[in-house]
């Protein structure tokens, strides 16, 4: 009997995972056969992802024969299973949202185009996560990248095509870096499996490993939006339809992180200096991402910058992990567990709140026809329930207790602080800087997410666009609300689960999560305290407070207020722009044109731009020099056939001489 149960559970697990992995392919066929049946295609993805999700969860506990069967071509360990879960969860949620969302945009883009690209995109991500050899990994990586391009350009507007172009160039620079990296560490075989790469890398010289590591940092960093290879992300992510943006930010960036984790595990050693470079890149991303999110006024670009920040934090975490591995193990061991806990938790939480916020931004943009925060306002009065969900998501993005994100970031900060106290001076110095910048980024991220919520949802509508919005159907609201609840529940489910996995001590439900004596938090105690306090205050209010309420106008000092007198998102971030002006490229253009016949009356147009210093001081010079080299190269292209033949001849002769 027992055997029978075991076998049938194994079969069930197998079946569920296969269903999950096959779902995007089936969905692709649905698009091919019935291009306009959005609901059918999305339902296939939702159900398939649900099956895959359950199967993956079961695979943690039951030996899953399917992965062993395909062994040399797939490699599935705990890390892949974790990322599989992430892909399935993200796909399921966003596809559920897409059932109601895609029809809203039937005049902007045909459903078939987006849905076809989504099917390829999900297939690519699943493939990357389970791939067991270099060519398969690169193949699926490319499928994912190209499908993402079609998601970005789906509405074919000029802005989207420009964003798509930037994305396409950057992602292929990344791909070339990956190819170069693989060529350096595993030069002998193109069909190398991960084990072959480990063996080949073991024999490689220090400098080829160092170059390969740098190339992999560039390759995966450019996909994950790590500064200075982040330039495409704030253009591309916002241009995709919102459910795709959610997938791009919440799932594709983690898949890039997966790639980096997988590849760095193949290296025989990673010295302190390389790890410090990873930390530096991560901190730069965290700082610039949160700073730009704080001063941005386009909802979806704000979220894209916030993704850069959170990926930066995760890369910082990985860098710290690599640094800690070079430290004396008896001290660094618990800290490594703490930082791993942070990385896992933060990926989960980021998926929930970023997908939820992107979908919410999509709803707001669909109903108000603008993504500009300066034109929104007062939505909380019209959509009370939805605004509650977005508030939870924003608090989650701000990493405030008692939400799941807080406990993730706590694990990072506490490990850093412990490291400062316990490790030798060199490590302590590095970790102090990390702790300071992480805290600053957390502060700016707090500002960004609160700005997002309070400018869009509180106060009065700043323009007519936001003033008359219709009520929201449940079908649109459900997915973001689910993510909001998910962000709360991760504190109670994911935190104990991962803590039990990464730390010694099997059952830690209800008990403290502890990284060292006295360095602990308790999810349940914190939540219970918050609930007791809230109940107490409500009780006091009921017992003593007066119930006399008069609804009045806002205090206006005697002159009527207009909605335009409110602070906009631009105004809200004014102090931040001022305090951080060395790190931003600010440009103000005031055009004054006197009206004809009334020289003292002038119309004034102020254009205020917040640009990126990276684009101004890094990308622009590089682009300029590439263009100037190209214009020199154009000189030999005279259009005369004889000259071309001469060039071919000279090249041949030169090659032959060199070869001999």
């Amino acid at each position: 009997m027992r055997e029978f149960v075991d076998i049938s559970m194994g079969l069930l697990t197998e079946l569920l995972v296969i269903t999950g992995c096959a779902a995007p392919c089936v969905a692709g066929f649905v698009v091919l056969l019935a291009p306009h049946r959005n609901t059918v295609m999305q339902s296939v993805l939702v159900l398939g992802s649900l099956a895959g999700f359950c199967g993956t969860i079961l695979s943690f506990f039951i030996e899953n024969p399917i992965f062993a069967l395909l062994a040399p071509y797939t490699m599935v360990d705990a890390v892949s299973l974790f990322f599989l879960l992430l892909v399935f969860a993200g796909t399921g949620i966003t596809s559920f949202f897409a059932i109601a969302y895609v029809p809203l945009y039937k005049y902007a883009f045909p459903a078939s185009r987006v849905n076809g690209a989504t099917a390829f995109f999900v297939t690519g991500m699943l493939g990357v996560v389970v791939a067991g050899s270099v060519p398969l990994f690169l193949f699926f990586w490319e499928v994912m990248s190209i499908a993402a391009y079609f998601l970005v350009v789906s509405d074919r507007s000029a802005e989207s095509i420009k964003a798509g172009l930037i994305y396409f160039v950057m992602t292929h620079l990344g791909l070339v870096s990956l190819l170069g990296g693989f060529a350096l560490i595993a030069p002998d075989s193109i069909f190398a499996t991960w084990q072959d790469v480990v063996i080949a890398a073991g024999g490689a010289s220090y400098w080829s490993l160092a170059f390969a590591f740098a190339l992999f940092c560039i390759g995966f960093g450019s996909k994950a939006g790590i500064v200075p290879f982040h330039a495409w992300l704030p253009y591309a992510h916002p241009q995709a339809p919102s459910h795709s943006s959610a997938l791009l930010s919440g799932v594709m960036l983690p898949v890039a992180v997966f790639g980096f984790i997988r590849i760095s595990s193949l290296f025989p050693f990673i010295p302190f200096e390389w790890a410090c470079m990873v930390i530096a890149a991560g901190l730069l991303s965290a700082f610039f991402g949160s700073l730009h999110a704080a001063v941005e006024k386009d909802m979806k670009r704000l979220l894209a910058y916030s993704s850069i920040e959170h990926m930066g934090l995760i890369f910082t975490g990985i860098g710290v992990l690599l640094v800690l591995k070079t430290a004396p193990h008896e001290i660094a061991g618990p800290l490594i567990e703490g930082v791993s806990l942070f990385i896992a938790l933060h990926l989960v939480n980021h998926m929930f709140f970023k997908a939820g916020l992107f979908m919410s931004a999509g709803i707001v943009a669909a109903k108000t026809h603008t993504r500009n925060l300066d034109e929104l306002g007062g939505l909380a009065k019209r959509w009370p329930l939805f605004s509650g969900g977005v508030l939870l998501l924003s608090l989650s993005a701000a990493a405030l207790p008692p939400l799941g994100t807080f406990f993730g970031e706590w694990a990072l900060m506490q490990s850093l602080a412990l490291g400062i106290a316990q490790l030798p001076l060199l490590f302590a110095g590095v970790l102090s800087i990390v702790l300071m910048v992480v805290a600053l980024a957390a502060g700016l991220a707090l500002l960004a997410s609160i700005k997002l919520f309070s400018v869009a949802f509180l106060g009065r509508a700043r323009t007519e666009k936001a003033a008359h919005v219709e009520s929201l159907p449940w079908s649109l609201m459900l997915a973001p609300l689910f993510c909001a609840v998910g962000g709360v529940l991760t504190a109670f489910i994911a935190v104990p689960f991962f803590a039990a996995h990464t730390m010694r001590g099997a059952n830690i439900v209800f008990s403290d999560i502890s990284l060292a004596p006295t360095a602990s938090v308790n999810v349940w105690a914190t939540a219970a305290t918050v609930l007791v306090l809230a109940g107490l205050i409500l009780l006091v209010r009921r017992l003593f407070g007066a119930e006399k309420v008069r609804i009045t106008a806002t205090w206006d000092c005697g002159a009527p207020l207009t909605p335009r007198m409110q602070y906009t998102a631009t105004g809200f971030a004014g102090p931040v722009r001022f305090f951080f002006r060395p790190f931003l490229f600010l440009k103000k253009t005031l055009t004054v044109t006197p009206l004809a016949g009334h020289s003292w009356i002038a119309s004034r147009v102020l254009i205020s731009e917040v640009g990126s210093v990276w684009e101004r001081w890094v990308y622009q010079p590089v682009a300029d020099s590439v263009l100037s080299v190209a214009s020199y190269a154009a000189r030999i292209q005279s259009g005369i056939v004889q000259v071309y033949i001469l060039i071919i001849f000279v090249t041949l002769v030169a090659t032959l001489t060199l070869a001999i």
Partner: protein, 311 residues
């Protein structure tokens, strides 16, 4: 028992918080050659506000109405997380330094949303400024509390205070520098001079008062109470670190608690008078020079950390 001691800490703070404000006002009045109102006036103010009718602006949403409760709850949470009289009994999970930072930020964030939900430029201005200050000061708080924890060898505020009682002013240099940073943070977090002027509602000076301008009646009472509680907790924390006498460590006796409470009252009075003195001597800084203030506190915090690491 833990629950009882947590209640004692909270009740003592809640009972004395308005008095802190009263003493500061009285002290400032004396230093400015005025007679000033009774130190018990804040109690009467809160009581009378509780009985008054409320006006709520038509442009606000449910968020506006939830803010006073959340802000008060966050202040009460801090009274639990930063014990004032009885120490060494709270579980370290609840007094963890990063939980304290999170609870402080939570209250600040909801105040900001209250100010944004009024459709008034005053409220919005206060919100923008408060949010900026909270964001800027975050690294300073984290570094300061980490240094204190590192010196004490314990990651809960409770443990930090216990260590201060057992070895007062051990690692004097690092401790003193960190305490300076903590004092600057306390002034900033509680909207005192030179960051904010708590006495006026003028738009030139305001941060905290601007955000709560639109609140009235019981809601205003809750918000003012929360502000008083937060100020008292943080001021007493600094005082307890600097003068770690009279804190009740286990084993707890009734006499010990009574002595502890009376010394606690003395510390509250002393801290309030120091704040009154600072507010009389220092002028308010321009808001757009706040980065200098924050950088100064960061310099103190980092200097404290470096000294702690190097010695």
């Amino acid at each position: 028992m833990t629950l009882l001691f947590a209640c004692i800490n909270t009740i003592v703070i809640v009972a004395i918080a308005p008095l802190t404000i009263g003493i500061i006002r009285k002290g400032k009045a004396y230093l400015q050659n005025r007679r000033g109102a009774s130190i018990f006036l804040p109690y009467l103010q809160i009581a009378s506000l509780m009985r008054k009718e409320m006006t709520i602006t038509e442009h606000s949403s449910w968020v506006f109405r939830s803010v006073p409760f959340v802000v008060l709850a966050s202040a009460l949470f801090i009274t639990i997380a930063i014990p004032a009289v009885v120490i060494g009994v709270m579980p370290s999970a609840l007094t963890n330094i990063f939980v304290v930072v999170g609870a402080l930020a939570f209250g600040a964030v909801f105040l900001v949303m209250g100010g944004m939900d009024t459709a008034s430029t005053f409220g919005n201005m206060g919100s923008s400024r408060e949010m900026t200050l909270s964001a800027l000061v975050e690294p300073v708080i984290v570094i300061t509390l980490s240094t204190l924890a590192l010196l004490a060898g314990s990651w809960g505020v409770d443990g930090i205070l216990t260590n201060a009682v057992l070895n007062p002013w051990a690692d004097g240099g690092a401790f003193a520098l960190t305490l300076c940073a903590l004092l600057l943070i306390t002034l900033l977090e509680n909207a005192r001079y030179p960051v904010d002027n708590p006495a006026t509602h003028l738009e030139l000076t305001m941060v905290h008062e601007a955000m709560i301008l639109e609140y009235s009646g019981p809601y205003l009472a809750l918000l003012e109470y929360a502000a008083a509680i937060k100020l008292t907790v943080m001021a007493v924390f600094v005082a307890n670190l600097a003068l770690p006498y009279g804190l009740v460590v286990a084993p707890v006796s009734l006499v010990g608690i009574l002595v502890g409470i009376s010394l606690f009252c003395g510390k509250v009075g002393l801290a309030a008078l120091v704040i009154a003195l600072v507010e009389t001597l220092v002028v308010k800084m321009r808001f757009y020079r706040m980065q200098e203030y924050v950088l100064l506190s960061l310099a103190f915090a980092l200097a404290g950390l470096s000294v702690a690491l190097l010695t």
